[in-house]
């Protein structure tokens, strides 16, 4: 094996078609995770009976175990459940007809949901109590106050955390190779082993991920500046 700098460029070109898959996995897990996370955060803040202990357990268990185990449990466990139900009801549906990437979507959304719930919760806690009291005093109802006053400010405050979560899920999407989804990492493995040039291929993959990460960071900074424009001056 000899170092071949020109192959880094070749590998980079070959990896480009895999970028949409990585971004798709990231986007789906972040969006579904955000919905799950918001629901869990609200359940925890309002202490909804019955659901509250379940939400706490969900967050603790998911945050206490590696993401790889979630993926593997879903990948091996879900087909057992689906096939069991399907044969019980006499449906002709088999789990093997489900595309691999769907398992990654489900597992990553569950993982992202737990981490997102903490992001949403801390965002909601940042909003000053006086804001919601002021909303009540001008006659808004609680949903109105939440929608018009709390959520926009909470969103602005949690942009850095959200960006971190997006980057975290972007990096975590490399795990999808264990269930044979061909994203950037899996593609790099293929390119590496077919050409027997491991270092160059992974360097190219690293460069792509680094670029994507910096891009997300920049975008988040821009968005934060724009969305916080109401917040200039004053005492705060």
């Amino acid at each position: 094996m000899k170092l071949d700098p020109s192959f880094i460029w070749t590998a980079l070109i070959e990896l480009l078609p895999a970028i949409p898959t990585t971004l798709l996995v990231t986007a789906v897990s972040v969006l579904c995770g955000f919905v799950i996370g918001t629901a869990v955060a609200l359940i925890r803040m309002y202490k909804v009976p019955l659901l509250y202990p379940a939400a706490v357990a969900y967050v603790t268990v998911i945050r206490g175990t590696p993401m790889l185990t979630h993926l593997l449990i879903i990948y091996f466990g879900l087909p057992l459940i689906i096939d069991g139900i399907s044969s019980l009801l006499g449906l002709g549906f088999r789990s093997s007809s489900i595309p691999m990437i769907d398992f990654a979507f489900i597992a990553f959304s569950i993982t992202a949901g737990a981490y997102m719930s903490e992001v949403v919760r801390s965002g909601l806690l940042v909003v000053n109590r006086g804001q919601i009291e002021a909303a009540y005093s001008v006659g808004m109802s609680t949903p109105q106050a939440l929608r018009r006053i709390v959520f926009p400010q909470a969103f602005a405050a949690s942009i850095p955390n959200l960006a971190n979560s997006v980057i975290g899920m972007l990096h975590a999407s490399t795990l999808a190779f264990t269930v044979s989804v061909v994203e950037i990492n899996a593609k790099a493995q293929i390119v590496a082993s077919t050409n027997w040039k491991f270092f160059e291929a992974y360097l190219a993959a690293a460069v792509i991920f680094w670029g994507l990460t910096v891009l997300i960071e920049r975008l988040a900074a821009l968005l934060e500046k724009r969305i916080n424009s109401y917040n200039r001056g004053g005492v705060a």
């Binding site: 202490k47 175990t65 185990t69 466990g77 109590r129 919601i132 009291e133 360097l203």
Partner: protein, 262 residues
């Protein structure tokens, strides 16, 4: 794919997986030692604004935080021997564990350096000035005044880094290290009981991260014992029995007034 689900396997796998716990903990401990040393070394140029090194440390932190740990593992495993070969050093015989610990160490180092930087800069400038005013030297001011305060700020973030590291070690199996995840995979393929094996694995991770979290929380409390902790004094959402948001916020406002008065 797989046999019928049998819960008893979860319990039989548990001690078998726990037997490889030491490898996982070895990676965590090794990476932590490397990470803290590297992290302090990398943070110093940025704290004291050393010209060229400052830029290098920025690039280092950006790279290790901007690429997935999985890619870094492969990169170091395949790349480091190649680069060292150019320097006429042969490390192809080195154990895989060496590369794994080095990679996790450098990865952790990037996060540790950012944490240290944030913690030190968050200590009020007036503290250092006050230390100088009573006649302390630069080193004295740092070790006696800045460091203890910075450590208290850094510990919760470091706790997150350590817990993240523990969970990240599950990726070491991709290079063939027989730590817990690798063991779980081989047990699963051996017996064809995949789900049971991974549930058992998740349980062990859960127990360890829970224990670690408690330990670090106790340490944090100890460091912060001289400060009034608002969170401890009044858990906003944890042990509150009130249902309405209005009452909750009214009570919170009253509490804040009391804190400000005292």
């Amino acid at each position: 794919m797989g046999e019928k689900f049998d819960i008893s396997y979860v319990f039989t796998f548990f001690p078998k997986l726990a037997g490889t716990l030491q490898t996982t903990l070895l990676i965590v401990a090794g990476a932590l030692v490397v990470g803290i040393i590297v992290g302090i070394l990398v943070a110093l140029p940025r704290l004291y604004s050393v010209p060229v090194l400052q830029r290098a440390s920025q690039v280092y932190a950006s790279f290790f935080r901007g690429t997935p740990i999985l890619i870094q593992l492969f990169l170091f495993y395949y790349g480091l021997p190649e680069i060292l070969k150019l320097l006429h050093l042969d490390v192809s015989r080195a154990p895989v564990l060496f590369f794994v610990i080095l990679t996790y160490g450098l990865h952790t180092g990037a996060y540790v350096s950012e944490t240290i930087r944030a913690a030190v800069t968050s200590v009020d400038r007036g503290q250092v000035e006050a230390a100088y005013a009573v006649g302390m030297s630069g080193i004295q001011a740092f070790t006696r005044i800045v460091w203890p305060q910075a450590l208290a700020i850094a510990v919760p973030v470091l706790a997150n880094v350590i817990l993240g590291l523990l969970k990240d070690t599950s990726l070491a199996f991709t290079l063939g290290v027989m730590e817990m995840t690798g063991k779980a995979q081989s047990l699963a393929t051996l017996t064809n009981h995949f789900v049971e094996s991974y549930i058992s694995l998740a349980l062990i991770y859960l127990v360890i991260s829970f224990a670690l979290e408690r330990l670090l929380l106790a340490f944090e409390r100890k460091l912060l014992r001289h400060e009034v902790r608002v969170i401890d004094a009044y858990p906003v959402f944890r042990r509150d029995k009130s249902r309405g948001l209005r009452q909750l916020f009214a009570r919170h406002a009253r509490f804040r007034e009391e804190v400000q008065k005292s």
